[in-house]
Assembly symmetry: C2
Homo-oligomer: 340 residues x 2
Amino acid sequence: MKTVELKAPYLIFTGSESRPTYAKTGAGLVEWRRELCLGHLRLSGSTLDLGLPDMTVAEAKAAGIRSLVIGTALVGGRIPDDWLDILEEAVLLGLDIVAGVHSRLADIERLAKAAAKSGASLIDVRVPPAVLPVGTGKKRSGKRLLTVGTDCAVGKKYTALQLEKDMRRAGLKADFRASGQTGIMIAGQGLPIDAVISDFVSGAAELLSPDNDADHWDVIEGQGGIFHPGYSAVTMGLLVGSQPDAFVVCHEAGRTHIEGWEDFPLPTIEAVIERTILIGQLTNPNITCVGVSVNTSSLSADERGKYLADLSDRLGLPCVDALKTGTDAIVARLGKLKVA
Amino acid sequence: MKTVELKAPYLIFTGSESRPTYAKTGAGLVEWRRELCLGHLRLSGSTLDLGLPDMTVAEAKAAGIRSLVIGTALVGGRIPDDWLDILEEAVLLGLDIVAGVHSRLADIERLAKAAAKSGASLIDVRVPPAVLPVGTGKKRSGKRLLTVGTDCAVGKKYTALQLEKDMRRAGLKADFRASGQTGIMIAGQGLPIDAVISDFVSGAAELLSPDNDADHWDVIEGQGGIFHPGYSAVTMGLLVGSQPDAFVVCHEAGRTHIEGWEDFPLPTIEAVIERTILIGQLTNPNITCVGVSVNTSSLSADERGKYLADLSDRLGLPCVDALKTGTDAIVARLGKLKVA
């Protein structure tokens, strides 16, 4: 059984989009995997600048590019008709197409036919593999860190990516493990955990972070929230299957309620730590919290410093804003962690 | 959005099966919904006796039967070829076919064509509806009881069915709500929760027990186990979405480990109670345990009495074997329950 896997290097395709906020996937790929992004293809009129050389599909092929990655959010979730000539050309040249949209690529007849001819793959990163295991709970070799959150959309993915970067810089062996579509595009592999049938969630999480070297860290992207009225099942399965040695709680400064569920006050960071340990002990008795990462983008630099210092005093844990301060304080604590 | 729904009354079809243990679904339907089972159709040579009159498909149609229910477990999960004449005849006469097998009924061309012609439905009770909601966590009217377990296969379904029966006899308004395939066949509706995509598990559970009269009880069939290394995500989503006022812990006397996961000792009943309350409080602060139902089939009658009495002393809760002693002691406690 396998995770979703992409072939690098990439051509980032952004259609006619000019607004950076609608091209977050493409921008994220360039931000975190610059070395795998060789070219940018945009339709005439687009002013979007990803800092990559413009390339046609033919130039991409000549440059050794193996996948065209659709790097925009699509209004309505569908592939626009005026993209089809370009996508078909890419497929016929043997490039895989990678997308995270609602409509299935293989349901578009022109692309399916072209893929059958060239042998290229049409990869929907929202679609999990057809066959997944049931979780065994068996101890795997290597170490694991999971990011968890007080809510959705509080920085679990970017915290994990920054941890991977900082851990590698500190000389640790670390690999980001993606559990959502944008993460999968960035990592080049992974499993869209929230799209997995519930019986197989913890099994999928086991597949996502397999046996590894004893001193290797998988840094696993969390999903949902253990106190989330809609998504806690996903969080539970990912936690139990990941059997993390360590976890980092992600939070957004100033958020008071579960976003979109205004009847539900946000859990405290302490409550998330306690509950995560309680549940995580099922598959890893040594699970421990190694820090907190707060999205402080609503605060000034002064306020951020005070907020993080106060929080660190309160919790007795390193508290960072992964994207503003980095995660070195957490990595230092990880280095001291004794793992059985 | 709707649950899976069946049309009664039923013709129970058991092919050439003669072994009662392989016809549990059919037997369960007769046991719990005798009034909906008008006839039995078996192939020549079968000695299986469900206590129903034998009927051909044509006789069933004439008797007003609306669905043919496949009441056997299938080795390999496939519909045998020698069933197709009978199933096709039933479909052409307008009877729905109801099955809980791995192969999709609609993928069998003869049946799909016949259904297109007659307008009958091919209902796979393992297949959840295509569109399900995300859980809202909003309080619904009416009362809910959920059966939970120390493990899988400890009597959660039959305890819920016995509770429904005993509650109705005691004058309470009660409806069994099915979350698994056999339960759905018995209830005539429900949702196969373990086959739902993880993002929608708690939403599916909400759909399963909608708003109701203030004094009405939904008695919801539990799934998995909150300490189960494979299936805890299903249990979590069902618990959070069900927002139960009351729960009953199901257990099997003598079981020491999670069945099939021998590295995992069975949790104590106390641990299951504590954890279920802790998690259930997210969507119902008043959640409380009202009793325990133990499968004591490995014990003698004397041993059973002592086992249940000792357990009741230990826990301070009514403890029954739902199928051997009934659940009146639990129903009595339910009657005294104050629900906000």
